[in-house]
Amino acid sequence: MSLEQAIRGLVPSGSLVFVGGFGQCVPFAAGREIVRQGVTGLTLCRTGADILFDLLVAAGAAKEIVVGWFGNPGIGISHICRRALAEDRLRLRETSNFGLLLRLEAAAMGLPFLPTHVLAEGDLVPDGGRRSVVCPFTGLELTAVPALVPDVALVHAHRADPLGNVQSSGILGDTLAGARAARRIVVTVEKIVDPAEIRADPGSTILPAHLVSAVAEVPFGAWPSYVDGVYDRDDDYYRAFDRLSRDPAWVDNWVQDTRTGVAEVVAPARKAALVQAAHEPPHAA
């Protein structure tokens, strides 16, 4: 299935969308396709939002975010979300990262809630309100967090077979919790491979075909984030974004360039540099 078809069929306007990726494998290509198709009214969720959230908010695709953190990871705040919040174009439902992770984990486990020791103190009110639950064995009072069931999860990974058995490596963060929590999973991969290649190394499979609704090959589909051992993070892009995204005019152009496909053209030399950096041995001098 092409990415165009997958998004058109599986990410209708108004969906609750889990956005996978943690540092690496952020599904930028899928996000750009959502922008191109003019999808609207999405609610986005994950623990810590990457700048892909900014694109979807700036383009008017997302009206709400459910997160533990939002910003430019390791660099600073989200200028785009901050403006959208101030202008009431965006609704924010926030919790802590662990709180959000447990909401996804509850859904992945088929449970309506999970208990936890966090979110009982301080001003963070869990989504759904602060509710407690008492352990029937110890009498200990815990906080309950309600399951969060995304309509669809977007995941980028290293490779998959045409059936949808997906393999990856490196940092996964909350990607699998969110994917397993969702009703459907749409996957982009660097490479579609033969099923025999997957079955020769089943320990590397992170999602089985029966959970995956669509898989599309999109090389460099996580750029400007990275794919462990394939290409490195484009840190320059993230740094520049902090500066550029303060300017609404630049943001409008960026959205426009995304719609026309210009925004995702990576210069060959830059691609080569990112690929080379990913192949340096650890702790190289």
């Binding site: 390791g74 705040i77 802590s96 992770l101 020791h117 103190e121 963060g173 919790a177 190289a284």
Partner: protein, 247 residues
């Protein structure tokens, strides 16, 4: 991206509270830097855990984010986010290193909003894992730049709870002991009886300078210790900061 000298000093002071063999839940920036410095000097057996699921990380340069390639490369284990938060909730993480936009005299941290929640003056990125670390780590060490506006009597929003304001936080199941120390570029504070208390001063600063601008009368220990001087920037401890390339 090399840290500035003040950030480096703050990280160095926080590193004084990290002992060899401890398991530390760290983030990006100054908290991670503190653990990296400790690991390269007095605490080579420290285990650094990032919320991205990376355990026993050994970044060869200060990473840009918790999900950066340099966090994964050369680590002891790539787990899941649930692995590391579950361990935190189980109470086996010795120390969490935290920062925030504002801190108050009881060690409460705000990283959510300045001003009213619905119409904030400044909207910050939110808790991330900070709330969870503050509640669950056996103890926390806070890092704060010496910027007086960041020190307030009571934070406007408690993202990450500190001490309750009436004595120290009581640890229990799913509940750590709260802030043990707060490091600034000028000093190290302890939380005697749950209140921020000047305990040690960095070379070149007086006790008065250590609390300069903080809008309440900061408690001081009767005897103030001296913090060790920052090691030479061109020494082996800081070699990792001079590397280029992707982070």
């Amino acid at each position: 991206m090399q840290p500035d000298p003040a950030t480096l000093a703050m990280a160095w002071h926080a590193a004084q509270d990290l002992a060899d063999g401890e398991v530390a839940f760290v983030g990006i920036g100054a908290p991670g830097l503190a653990a990296m410095i400790a690991r390269r000097l007095h605490a080579p057996g420290i285990t650094m855990i990032f919320e991205s699921g990376v355990i026993g990380a050994d970044p060869d340069k200060p990473p840009l984010s918790t999900g950066s390639p340099s966090v994964a490369r050369g680590a002891a284990m790539l787990g899941s986010m649930m692995d590391v938060f579950a361990a935190l909730q189980k109470g086996i993480i010795d120390v969490g290193l935290l920062s925030g936009a504002e801190v108050d005299r009881f060690g409460n941290l705000n990283s959510t909003v300045i001003g009213h929640y619905d119409r904030p003056t400044v909207r910050l990125p939110g808790s991330g894992g900070a709330h969870d670390i503050a509640v669950l780590a056996r103890r926390t060490v806070l890092l704060m730049p010496h910027e007086p506006k960041r020190f307030v009597q009571r934070v406007s929003y408690v993202t990450s709870p500190g001490h309750p304001g009436v004595g120290p936080r009581r640890p229990g199941p799913g509940r750590g002991a709260g802030p043990a120390a707060l490091a600034t570029p000028r000093a190290l504070f302890r939380f005697d009886d749950g209140e921020m208390t000047l305990a040690a001063v960095a070379p070149g600063f007086t006790a008065d300078q250590a609390v300069e601008g903080i809008p309440w009368v900061v408690r001081r220990r009767q005897t103030l210790a001296s913090l060790p001087p920052l090691p030479a920037l061109d020494g082996p401890a800081f070699h990792f900061m001079h590397k280029g390339g992707a982070e």
